[in-house]
């Protein structure tokens, strides 16, 4: 094989480099900016410098060492996926230095295909996916260009190149899709899950002042919901997440002992919401559900505080089918340890709050509900909402209630619960999300990360835990719509905030999530449910897969071969006739004239019909005697070899 080592022409070289660069792009976008910039710069530099000739080996070695050092500085020595991806990107960048022959170009292209793959391990968003697909198509284009160079064919115009690759991709598509949906998925990974999840940090287990600022500025979706049946009204759209009842003076924490404890009795209202929740990946196991979830779906469990936890980390997009009902009575009885926990306060914090609570308690007597009302009225009258509140000092509640009087949900809920506990009312902080935007195109709701919210629950005799949202007392519109809507809602009405384009994009994104990202072994088993097959076992799955793949291959071959079909119908009929005789071992040799063949056949097994037909065929085809081509075609099609007994 001489060709693979053949030198690369300038155009093929450019194609290869462009395609490798494009493959590197989605990966670079996922790496730390500094590292990505250096890798991109060195890739460009290497490609330009080595255009004239190979870089000397010591220089290349130096480059490799420099890259390794850089990655070590940026990511540390921890072997893991991030480091692996960075290494891959760096090696690809350096590999451009040895691009001399066809073989070099091909190996560069092959390795560069790993780059989008690695990028998908870090992110599965639409941008990465689009870039990855683009890189794959470009790699195919470059491969095609290289094959032309190998075949010494003159390079085709770009348009034709694209047509060629487009044809291959489209032809391969049915096969790829059939395999995608039917190839048996692993319900358990063969080896360990990646250590860095694709997702962003979710709702945290703790709450302290200033902690949520990043979260509240992030308009990425946290989850999407589709209701089967009626949707809850705005004041009912509280998505319950972690419930925090331990307080150390500054920080609220979940009471871990209640994770596996028994659920308290709930007497629900007659309303029932049924919905499907597509939860974006996070690093945690925490899920959310509408206040209050009726039961935990398989793979999850409810804590004693009705907070929903998944059994496995939610490292990839997951779908949950849930039911919730607003409670009529939620935990009518409070045990003594629970009561103590719900009244727990650290010693020596917030003296003014404590004093106010005692004063009010004296004024309203035993009526807890009146005390709650009074507090809310006070907040409504004197407080304002702002996301830019200053950080409180040591006595968080005192600073907020008596000095700043401005803040957002984390201040309000925390101070409110501290006040309630000081007044002897069991209370706790509940975090989660509130609100959501309806997408009219797909009839679903998007809840964004910036919709994260914290509210309070107080325990009242006979009614049990009751949700109280002090933030809503100040700025109901901030909660029930979302923050951002108010800022940008001047023009947009109704669903607000998001423009039509944004809605359409989110709808597409959701479709992608639905069709591709959240597709797993569980959904694969129920794939044929619309056709009455409830659960496919793996044997059936493989059978369907084989069937469809066979079909796709057949379709592919047919589509490709269609172009090769003889277009002259007369000739086609003649060839068909020839094939009938070929089955009897009387095939016409390619060099044999039609008439000679017919005579040979006739000599072996008398067939005067064939003699006449071949004479007519020759006359029609070569002598231009086209009296009635249709009838000749018909006769050719109808003619069958005689039984062949020599007479």
């Amino acid at each position: 094989m001489a060709e693979p080592t053949a030198l690369l022409d300038a155009q093929a070289r450019r194609w290869t480099l462009a395609s490798a660069g494009l493959a590197l792009l989605p990966l670079l976008l996922q790496l730390p900016t500094q590292l990505a910039t250096v890798i991109a710069a060195s890739a460009l530099l290497t490609a330009v410098v080595s255009r004239r000739g190979l870089l000397p080996a010591p220089v290349r070695l130096l480059l490799v060492l420099a890259m390794l050092a850089l990655i070590y500085l940026q990511l540390g020595a921890r072997p893991g996926r991030d480091t692996g991806c960075a290494l891959l990107a760096a090696m690809l960048a350096i590999k451009t230095s040895e691009l001399r022959s066809l073989r070099d170009a091909r190996s560069l292209l092959g390795f560069s295909l790993f780059a989008p793959f690695a990028a998908f391990l870090l992110d599965q968003g639409p941008l990465t996916t689009a870039l990855g697909a683009l890189a794959a198509v470009c790699a195919l284009l470059a491969l095609q260009r290289l094959a032309q160079a190998e075949g010494q064919a003159s390079p085709a115009p770009v348009r034709q190149q694209m047509q060629g690759v487009g044809r291959l991709v489209l032809l391969g598509l049915p096969l790829a899709l059939a395999t995608f949906w039917l190839f048996p998925r692993l319900s358990e990974p063969l080896w360990g899950l990646p250590e860095r999840a694709v997702g962003k940090p979710g709702l945290s287990d703790t709450l302290e002042p200033g902690q949520w600022l990043d979260l509240m500025a992030d308009d990425a979706p946290a989850f999407r919901v589709q209701f089967q049946g009626p949707a809850p009204t705005a004041v009912q759209r509280y998505w319950r997440g972690p419930v925090m009842s331990r307080f150390d003076g500054r920080r609220w924490e979940i009471d871990r002992s209640r994770e596996r404890a028994a659920l308290p009795a709930v007497q629900p209202r007659p309303v029932q919401w049924r919905y499907t929740l597509d939860y974006e990946p996070t690093e945690r196991r925490q899920l959310v559900a509408l206040d209050l979830p009726n039961a935990a779906p398989p793979g999850t469990h409810l804590t004693a505080d009705h907070s929903l936890l998944s059994d496995l980390p939610l490292a990839s997009l997951s779908r949950w089918t849930l039911q919730s009902s607003p409670p009529m009575v939620y935990a009518a009885e409070l045990s003594e340890p629970q009561r103590r926990q719900a009244l727990q306060l650290p010693e020596g914090f917030n003296p003014r709050t404590q004093a106010l609570a005692r004063q009010w308690r004296g004024e309203v007597g035993n009526d807890d509900a009146a005390l709650v009302e009074r507090t809310l009225a006070w907040i409504r009258a004197e407080f304002t909402y702002s996301i830019d509140a200053p950080l409180p000092g040591r006595d968080t509640a005192d600073d907020f209630l008596f000095k700043q009087k401005v803040g957002f949900c984390e201040h309000y809920s925390s101070a409110f619960v501290i006040l309630m506990r000081n007044a002897g009312i069991p209370a706790r902080v509940v975090t989660g999300f509130a609100g959501g935007i309806r997408n009219p195109i797909g009839d679903y709701w998007v809840v964004r990360r910036m919709d994260a919210h914290a509210w309070a629950e107080v325990w009242l005799p006979q009614r049990g835990w009751v949700r109280v949202d002090p933030t809503a007392a100040v700025a109901p519109e901030r909660i029930l719509d979302t923050l951002d809507d108010q800022l940008g809602a001047q023009g947009a009405a109704g669903d607000g905030g998001w423009s039509q384009t944004g809605q359409a994009l989110d709808w597409l994104r959701r479709g992608w999530n639905d069709l591709v990202l959240s597709y797993d072994a569980k959904r694969q088993r129920t794939l044929l449910r619309p056709f009455g097959v409830d659960a496919l076992d793996s044997g059936q799955l493989v059978a369907v897969l084989v069937l469809l793949v066979g079909g796709a291959l057949g379709l592919m071959a047919w589509l490709l071969a269609r172009g090769e079909r003889e277009r002259d119908p007369l000739l086609r009929a003649w060839h068909q006739l020839g094939r009938r005789y070929a089955r009897l071992g009387l095939a016409r040799e390619p060099y044999e004239p039609a008439q000679a063949w017919a005579e040979r056949v006739h000599a072996q097994r008398p067939d005067p019909g064939l003699l006449a037909l071949s004479a007519r065929f020759v006359a029609a085809r070569y002598a231009g005697a086209r009296h009635d081509p249709a009838s000749l075609r018909g006769d050719l099609r109808r003619h069958r070899p005689t039984s062949g007994a020599p007479s």
Binding site: P4, R103, R106, S107, G110, L113, F114, P116, F117, F120, L121, Q124, T128, T129, G132, A133, A136, A139, L140, L143, Q144, L146, A147, Q148, E150, G151, Q152, A153, S154, V165, L168, V169, L171, G172, L173, L175, A176, T179, F180, F183, R185, L186, P189, L190, W191, L193, S316, V516, L517, L553, M556, A557, L560, A561, G563, E564, R567, E589, P590, Y591
Partner: protein
Amino acid sequence: MLLQGGAERLLAMAQPRQPAPLPQRLDRRRIYVLPTPFGLFVGALLAAMLLGALNYNNNPALLLALLLAGAAIASTLSAHLALSGLTLESLSAEPVPAGQPLRLRLTLSQRGHRSRPGLRVDHQACRGWVHVPAEGRVEAELHLPTEHRGWLDLQRIRVSTTQPLGLVRAWGWFWPEHPLLVYPQPELHGPGLPERGSDPLHSRLDPAGEELHQLRAYRSGDARRSIAWKHSARRDTLLVREYEKPVGIEVVLDWSDLPGLETERRIARLARWVDLAEQQGRRYSLRLPGQPPLGPALGPAHHHACLRALALLPHG
């Protein structure tokens, strides 16, 4: 060794198994497709990607790998179709003396309406490239090395392609039943034509001759150095010298005149003489043992007949 033997046996099983008359058509059962080394590399790469994607249940990565795999499979079919229906219509080759490359011209044609670029034509170690246009024909040229005079039997001619992606190589064989003639290699340095029986009175004009024959008027196209400037200066017109060389009209090239030489050297000398006589434009006849004499005659046909007779003399 075992593997190689197996490969050879497999090759021997491939169609066609013996030479056949032209035209020959590559139908789809006579086309073989195997991955190239690069194709195997890409296959391994895709397998790794698939496994990784399945393990992490990473659907975009899986889709990417499957998309590439689909395109790769489509490319194998496409490569197969790039050969299917290709016809070797005819072949021709001008005989050359042994030792010189034989230019074998193969006419390939197709009826499909898709052009087929980058087809490689191999015959043993020689290789040519050809691009068959849609519904057209094209000539491929192979330069076969020749070593011995006589018939050169063609081996199987492989037509192959790695288009469109270079992942697989599709190939098929033509085996034309069409021996090619190779002339004997003439002696490089040897005696001139035997002038036995020539008539010295006969002479013919020859610019390379030594005796001045006559002067004649200049005709356009005459060589400048043949102009007799002195004579021309005395007249008004340009005069040209014509030389003559005394030659026998006819040369007899006889095998039996060359005793003592071994067979191949005899053949080489006779071949040289045949070439010389043809160059000098002299009628010649060739007498070989056990064959009727050829000639006397002159011209390409006679030249070919003589060299063919020499080429086909039994080896020994």
